[in-house]
Assembly symmetry: C2
Homo-oligomer: 398 residues x 2
Amino acid sequence: MIAVNEERFLKSLHDLRRFGASGVGKGVVRPAYSEADIAARDWLAGVMRAAGLEAVFDPMGSLFGLAPGRSILLGSHSDSQPEGGWLDGALGVMAGLEIARAAAESGGPPVSVVSFQDEEGRFGVTTGSAVWGGVLAQAEADGLTDRAGVTLGDARAAMGARLEAPVDPARFSAYLEMHIEQGPVLDGAGEALGVVDAIVGIRDRMITFTGQQNHAGTTPMHLRRDAFQALSAFNARINERFRNIVTPATVWTIGHVRLHPDAHSIVPGRAAFSMQWRDGDADRLARMEAVIRETAEEVARERGMGLEMGPMLGIEPVAMDAGLVAALEGACQAEAPGRWRRMPSGALHDASNVARLMPSAMLFVPSIGGISHDFAEDTAEVDLVIGLRALARAVTTI
Amino acid sequence: MIAVNEERFLKSLHDLRRFGASGVGKGVVRPAYSEADIAARDWLAGVMRAAGLEAVFDPMGSLFGLAPGRSILLGSHSDSQPEGGWLDGALGVMAGLEIARAAAESGGPPVSVVSFQDEEGRFGVTTGSAVWGGVLAQAEADGLTDRAGVTLGDARAAMGARLEAPVDPARFSAYLEMHIEQGPVLDGAGEALGVVDAIVGIRDRMITFTGQQNHAGTTPMHLRRDAFQALSAFNARINERFRNIVTPATVWTIGHVRLHPDAHSIVPGRAAFSMQWRDGDADRLARMEAVIRETAEEVARERGMGLEMGPMLGIEPVAMDAGLVAALEGACQAEAPGRWRRMPSGALHDASNVARLMPSAMLFVPSIGGISHDFAEDTAEVDLVIGLRALARAVTTI
């Protein structure tokens, strides 16, 4: 058994949230490659070294804390959404760090820790672990742009001389990622832990309708080619057509919309928006993609719109390693008897990419009210500690 | 007859478009109170003085070029939309300036000229002439904000010591405003001139739906309170319900949309958007307002949304002065026999406000392709000159 220090673990979590603190509750604003994100990673590197780990930034800016020889890898990510909570990926990083530190102190198995870069997808989808996992080529990643038009290549250049060569995945025997559920299931059931058996697949792409920008007072309705009206019609139709395809677990979201020129008195000439959909079944994801394409082409044809479909980003559904899932289940039953469950992850995680390199699995703790990607995101500290203890126990049994 | 100098008029129009030139065709970017707008007004003041007029900026930054004694007032505005054309309001200002200059040279009637501030509504609707016309109190105007959160009070402070006391409307016997049609009617009919007999009324207000920001992967569809979905449903319903109320001349537009936090992977917690509608009948505007409010409240109720309706901005429909309309008709028949018409203005103009102070009327020239509020806005120079000559002729007959 690894003797983790619960107070030290909780203090280090609170220390980390000072970087990019939003001033609203425990919320943080720490997007990938921002000043706050880089400062947090520099601080983490120092804590790793103090714990006897070798701190290494890979070419994407993902930070590894390496134990000597072959080791188990724990971690997650420390970047946040534009408005994020204090736990999200930070929990998995600090839990991994505490377990690596405690293992070194108590002669436990060698444990390394990682904080992947850009898990929240400023430039796409989990780009840091996607490049490490070979899902995304570095050159392709560097060409991705955020919504302000900044390229990932320019953004990671801000980390300058910190960046070194990629870390060899062969150093690691397994990957375990602890994370908040980010949904209402565990909290609603009063349960303490969730063992993830699969991560849903995601598709994400920008769609742009281009009509005719014109004066909002002098252009008769029947002569307009209004790009916002095209977006509204597209949205209504896919909501209707998805009914015959989806399950209760399927989700789809239009979360980002940009009109041009975006003025009260001008008929919008262009509407660019994000279309994202998630499901555990790759065939269903493909059927939804077909409906999206056909519906967008249909609306564009009917309304005389230009149509542009951006590059498709996403990740296939991924099953977790059976042996690691069994080890986590045993640890959950020991730490929270009868208060845990197996469940799929509706959220994407770095484990989706790491699973291509080594056996991987995930452990969830409850999200109060199911709220995440929000300043209000939180989890009771007693549940954070139960998660830490279960993860430490699993490490000793694999 | 006033002997206008057509070359001088056209040259001054091209000189003006250098201020805020967009680099795209003859397009300009000259929003109210921007550096380019203020620089253009300083240049205009110099041209006015050279023409023997007294240049005066009123408290809003509207620029008057005053002839001695009681005079006819000509003009429009020189600010532009975020992306605007070279003519829009600039045409009426430079035509007025040429006629004032020519009248002074040839011993014609005293003619003054004005360029109103913020006609394009960075802070609301024709705020410069609205304050001068007593439609909007200065203190209320100063509290209006643009979409970046800047107040009009702070913006006009940028004009500093230029700003003087209001100009007494009693100095003027009548107001004539020349403007591009900004619609497809004259160009489509191959006509050269339009005499405006009425300006439609406008209503404009922001509407905000507030739902629940949450994770786009872990929040089941049936538990979501997605503010963008509320906007899309609202839009579809008003389009349906307006059918029983509107005429072919009625228009409505959602031209500005802002989601929060506006990220691919987050269910939008807030959607703020502009709702603008225009018609020549005040009763119809009121019936549309009732449908908008009832539909917004209905959608908010059904979807568990907070609803906020911003302050109502707008202007009542305004009939032009019959005597001035007759004078313009006579001038049009003399300059372009059989190639002119009476028509309403679907666009708002400063004349809507000035008509509260003195007899007012408007003259339209064609917009090629009906395009305006766009870099591509244009009018054949031969038509600009016909408009100048018709306006100058009308001035001598009132």
